[in-house]
């Protein structure tokens, strides 16, 4: 627990990622100085060179584990954090870099680097929860800054964050969007994808591509059947689930079903 008389210590950690989810905190232009007033930002390298060593009340972890040294570092972060929250698809599901889990990482390295022998990396990209206990997982590629503020407020108040578990479909209904799949025959992962973005893609006349990952108990079988009827072939079905949350259980299993 944070000692009385001192502000809770916040740390932001980065593993393999694009920096976008931690940027979401700096993107809270109207709230950032208020957040900075409510917490002691003890470790946040993207924003400050001042670093307080020791223990943290709330750690926000961005990125996935792809190297042996990062696998050790996350243990240290866990040991020094009272509450650990993963932010985004990389930390929560392994990210787009988890596509290596279906490939030969040595071959990958040889495609990108002249001297693959200089590259030290693990064969897989894995979620933080595969390595340490995680207190809360915030979805999205990238996360929603509105949800991030909710998670920080809730964690500091000692309550459960209010982040709906339903599908993007419900968000479309709440916005009054016309269903892009029913009305236009546009393939859409909305029925199986976790809410949080505010149904942005259907609002822009495109199908959801699943960047918030699977909702709780998604009916991917039924959706794949519908996508097939719209003309999506097996390779398309395999790839449509295999993007930014490819290694999240329900998406991984459904994509594997179509990986002939």
């Amino acid at each position: 627990m944070a000692a009385k008389n001192r502000k809770p210590r916040l740390a932001v950690w980065k593993f393999a990622s694009c920096d976008g989810c931690q940027l979401s905190l700096l993107d809270c232009e109207d709230e950032l100085l208020a957040v900075a007033g409510a917490v002691d930002i003890a470790y946040f390298l993207e924003a400050t060179r001042g670093a307080v060593r020791g223990r943290y009340d709330l750690s926000l972890v961005e990125g996935s584990v792809t190297t042996a040294s990062d696998a050790a570092r996350i243990q240290d972060v866990r040991a020094r954090s009272r509450t650990l929250v993963t932010i985004g698809a990389c930390a929560t599901a392994g990210g787009i870099q988890a596509l290596r889990n279906w490939a030969d990482v040595k071959e990958y390295a040889s495609v990108v680097y002249a001297r693959p022998d200089y590259i030290q990396t693990l064969a897989t990209s894995t979620a933080i929860a595969d390595h340490v206990a995680v207190d809360f997982e915030l979805r999205g590629c990238p996360i929603s800054k509105r949800q991030l503020l909710e998670v920080i407020s809730a964690m500091l108040a000692g309550r459960r964050p209010v982040t709906p578990h339903h599908s993007v479909c419900i968000e479309c209904k709440l916005k009054g969007n016309v269903c892009v799949m029913v009305a236009h025959g546009t393939p859409c992962l909305g029925p199986v994808t976790h809410a949080g973005c505010g149904a942005i893609c259907p609002s822009y006349n495109r199908g959801c591509y699943g960047c918030y990952g699977p909702m709780e108990t998604p009916n991917t079988l039924s959706l794949s059947d519908g996508l097939h009827k719209l003309g999506m072939d097996e390779r398309g079905l395999m790839q449509v689930y295999r993007t930014f949350n490819a290694n999240a259980g329900p998406f991984r299993e459904e994509s594997d079903r179509h990986d002939g």
């Binding site: 980065k14 593993f15 393999a16 990622s17 694009c18 920096d19 976008g20 989810c21 931690q22 940027l23 979401s24 700096l26 993107d27 232009e29 109207d30 950032l32 100085l33 900075a36 930002i41 390298l45 993207e46 924003a47 400050t48 060179r49 001042g50 670093a51 792809t66 190297t67 990062d70 990210g95 787009i96 870099q97 596509l99 290596r100 490939a103 990482v105 071959e107 990958y108 390295a109 495609v111 990108v112 680097y113 002249a114 001297r115 200089y118 590259i119 990396t121 990209s125 590629c141 990238p142 942005i200 893609c201 609002s203 822009y204 006349n205 495109r206 591509y209 960047c211 790839q239 993007t243």
Partner: protein
Amino acid sequence: MTVKTIKVDYLARVEGEGAIKVVVRDGAVESAEFRIFEPPRFFEALLRGRAFTEAPDITARICGICPVAYQMSTVHAMENALGLAVTGPLRDLRRLLYCGEWIESHALHIYMLHAPDFLGYDGAIDMARDHGDAVRRGLALKKVGNEILSLLGGREIHPINVRVGGFYRTPRRRELEPLAERLKWAREAALETVRWVAAFDFPDVERDYEFVALRHTDEYPFNEGRIVSSRGLDITAGEYEDHFEETHVERSTALHSHLRERGAYLVGPLARYSLNFDRLSRLAQDVARDVGLGPKCSNPYRSIVVRAVEVLYACDEALRIIDGYVEPDLPAVAAEPCAGTGCAATEAPRGLLYHRYRLDADGTIVEARIVPPTSQNQASIEEDLVSFIGGSLDLPEDALRHRCEQTVRNYDPCISCSTHFLQLEIDRG
């Protein structure tokens, strides 16, 4: 003989993970290394086998700070492969989206990442205690950039509305009008920003860089133009790989780029500005002259002033585009797959970003090549450290370490991008 090593293990206020190591031998800088240890994510490998239509969503994930740059280089390279031309209002909207990213990314770097170096703070949040009005102005300016991204792109980070051929949905004129009001405020804030940063204390140094940037017949470059340099290079994006090569050094997970004939070169705001001053809006040119910035700038510490001038330009340009906007009939030009190779370079906030893709007949990506600005600047960053740190060796350890960090932050290095980047070590024995 005395050898001293100055090290910064985790460089702060940059995007991603990197380190600096400077070796000082007998009172002179012997070598400087800018190491990138961001774990590799292998984008060029994982893009293979994916549909060309998926590429702008995937490459955006290389960088959360400049996703639009990745999307723009991707769609232009794909359109080059498919023989498509995107013109008129769709082309204008792409420039408008890029204006949004320049404003957001530059405002972040000027106010949150770089200004604290000049004013002596660890970060903008500490700086806000004494310079609250400036930090609030910076955040509000950044927010206007993000508002452009949200409206045109659907969201600030990893926009969802960019596709090969154009957009999924184009805005109505009435949606852009409130943005124009916000941009008029932002243009004034950008003017104040130029004057604010121009008054900082700058080390009086210059280097004879070979500047490399796009140059367009009548525009300050975002999406299109020839690749030109201050030493006579003048080529198309298709000729890029004939003149530039990447090498792999053991200390880094980023590749280093060199001009085959001449070695290190510099991309980014200094290069763009020095090669394209005459393409800036009249307002941006006048303000640059007012604050004492000539038509060419070779002092990397003054890059913060050049970025501020570019923010001013981006506000001006965004207003010009909105004023002339005519709603297009269709949101995109139809993109039919065919076999071919396409390349493109666009101007990311940090500099030239080159992409090349080879597609097979059904539009599947067979090969991808991506050269981000920070890997192109790595050699120049290391040469800056060797050139500029020598004069500061009598500084106390902390101040010297800080000067090294500031020298690297001049480049607004984006380490997440360049890995395919920082730790400071100064070795003095």
